[in-house]
């Protein structure tokens, strides 16, 4: 199985802080890779460096066989990388429709694709003409995922999509991510909800102090409370 994303020796500084200190990570094609670890270990920075929001100080990022380390963010997006940030990045002054139109950078949103989005997230159809700022937190998160689905992407970078959401909405999110996976997309997912991580993840990579300290099958990590305790300082089953 080939890797859609391969990160080697990635270092990223933010101001005077050294956040990533030699990240090595591979994301297999068509699989869901969970990026786990305690708060502040560099998970979000890893996603943002892959997306080009932060410049890599050293190391390389290879995507689909190409070295994209020096590419600007728009070029990475156009190459097929979709990004759902932790703060959702919704344009609150724009309507739901305008958010979706904007997300389809290469042309008007495909009707069949929109139908799939509406099937996954019915509230978006209900509030199609409403300003996104008036949506609830869960609906905004639906929109942020839907926006990433507006065009075909090869790789999705998704940062804590279920954070702070009600259980019913979490299951909707999980369903949408499973659907994306079923379509053959590759996903690098930062997720603190263990049930979601266990249900979706094929692989897991655990970070600590700006490095990847463990990689393996998600099932292996999920089954080993001692390993979880050692890597992350807590048992995820306990959450």
């Amino acid at each position: 199985m080939s890797d859609v994303l391969r990160i080697e020796g990635l270092f990223t500084d933010i101001a005077q802080y050294h956040i990533l200190e030699g990240v090595d990570l591979a994301v297999p094609r068509g699989q869901v890779t969970m990026l786990l670890g305690r708060n502040g270990v560099g998970k979000t920075t890893t996603l943002k460096t892959v997306m080009g929001h932060w410049a890599a100080k050293a190391g390389s990022i290879r995507y689909d066989g190409q070295d994209i380390t020096a590419w600007p963010t728009p070029a990475r997006a156009r190459a097929g990388i979709g990004f759902v940030p932790e703060d959702m990045g919704i344009f609150t002054d724009l309507t739901v429709e305008e958010n979706m139109v904007l997300a389809a950078a290469s042309g008007p949103p495909d009707a069949a694709r929109l139908e799939r989005v509406f099937a996954a997230f019915p509230p978006l159809k209900t509030f199609w003409k409403s300003e996104a700022g008036t949506l609830s937190g869960g609906q905004k998160q639906m929109l942020s995922i839907a926006r990433a689905m507006a065009e075909e992407r090869v790789l999705y970078l998704i940062d804590e999509p279920t954070k702070g959401l009600a259980p019913a909405i979490v299951s909707t999110m999980a369903g949408a991510l499973r659907e994306l996976k079923g379509q053959g997309a590759s996903i690098l997912l930062v997720e603190q909800n263990f049930a979601v991580a266990k249900a979706l993840g094929d692989h897991a990579a655990v970070m600590d102090d700006g490095r990847i300290v463990w990689t393996g099958a998600m099932a292996e990590l999920a089954a080993d409370a001692g390993l979880q305790e050692r890597l992350m300082g807590l048992s995820m089953e306990a959450e």
Binding site: H53, R78, L94, L102
Partner: protein, 343 residues
Amino acid sequence: MSAAPDHAPTMTRASFAHRLGQAAPYLLVPVLIVLGFLSIGSSSSWLTLTVSGLAMGMMIFVMASGLTLVFGLMDVINFGHGAFVSLGAFVGISVLLALTGWTTAPSLFLNLAAVLLAIAAAMVLTGLVGWGFERVIVRPVYGAHLKQILVTVGGLIVVEQLIHVIWGPDEIFLNRPETLKGAVTFAGAALEKYRILAVVLGLAIFVAMRLVLRRTKIGLIVRAGVQNGQMVESLGYRLRLVFIGVFVAGSALAGLGGVMWGLYQEVITAGMGERMMILVFIVVIIGGLGSVEGAFIGALLVGLLQNYIAFLAPKLALVSNIGLMAAILMWRPQGMMPVVKAK
């Protein structure tokens, strides 16, 4: 496809107070006009002052609209914006002076053709200079506000001195085109023809800007970019190119504002843009950073208030706009309709 949870989303209707708060900025202009009427008493004086205030507001809006978008899109504080106002005025008025045969002819068609040519020349040149200004002066200082202030003020000084070199150090007096001189009488009030033209032109530009921003994909990108530029780039759009386009358009609009202001004042100087920047910044701040609609309402408030106060209490006219800014910022510290939230 996984089924969504069975729930029927609803949207709670906003309270009357909330809706009133949202609409309040739009109500300020008519409220101010009514207050002006009640204070002035004479309907003819009030009408003259109102048209004058609206004309002044429209011209300030034309100058301010580009600046607010430039700030909103790339967080760039351009103190050099006034250079485009002065440059536009000198280029436009030079064209008008070269077309004296057209401007002195008693023909509305020839007069308007001369004004339109002057506007076109001013906008093209200030747009080109704006492109160079962004490339040479602004681009190296992205993300550094203090440096932006210093180098853009430096750019303003350089452009002003170049105007002195090319057109000489003296102010240039001009006459408006023949059919735009004088006034028409309406309901007993004398309304200057040029001010009516300025209102129509300013309104047309506002409507055109709104159409572009609301009905086109590029407008959508600009509106989204003002709110969250990084996310727009994450969707695949090259925001830097959009910003250059907005900077050029904003410079061209400032040039247009310069021509309009020159014809309004009937005199131009190299420092006119610099002096206008005080009003332009007030408008951008009270309108809310990044908001074209806010700048439009703010400009009308500034124009109307300055004219009413100059009539009612001339000694207070100079401080009226500062007072307006203070009052609005006490009410809404981020301006009336902020798109960019203060950091």
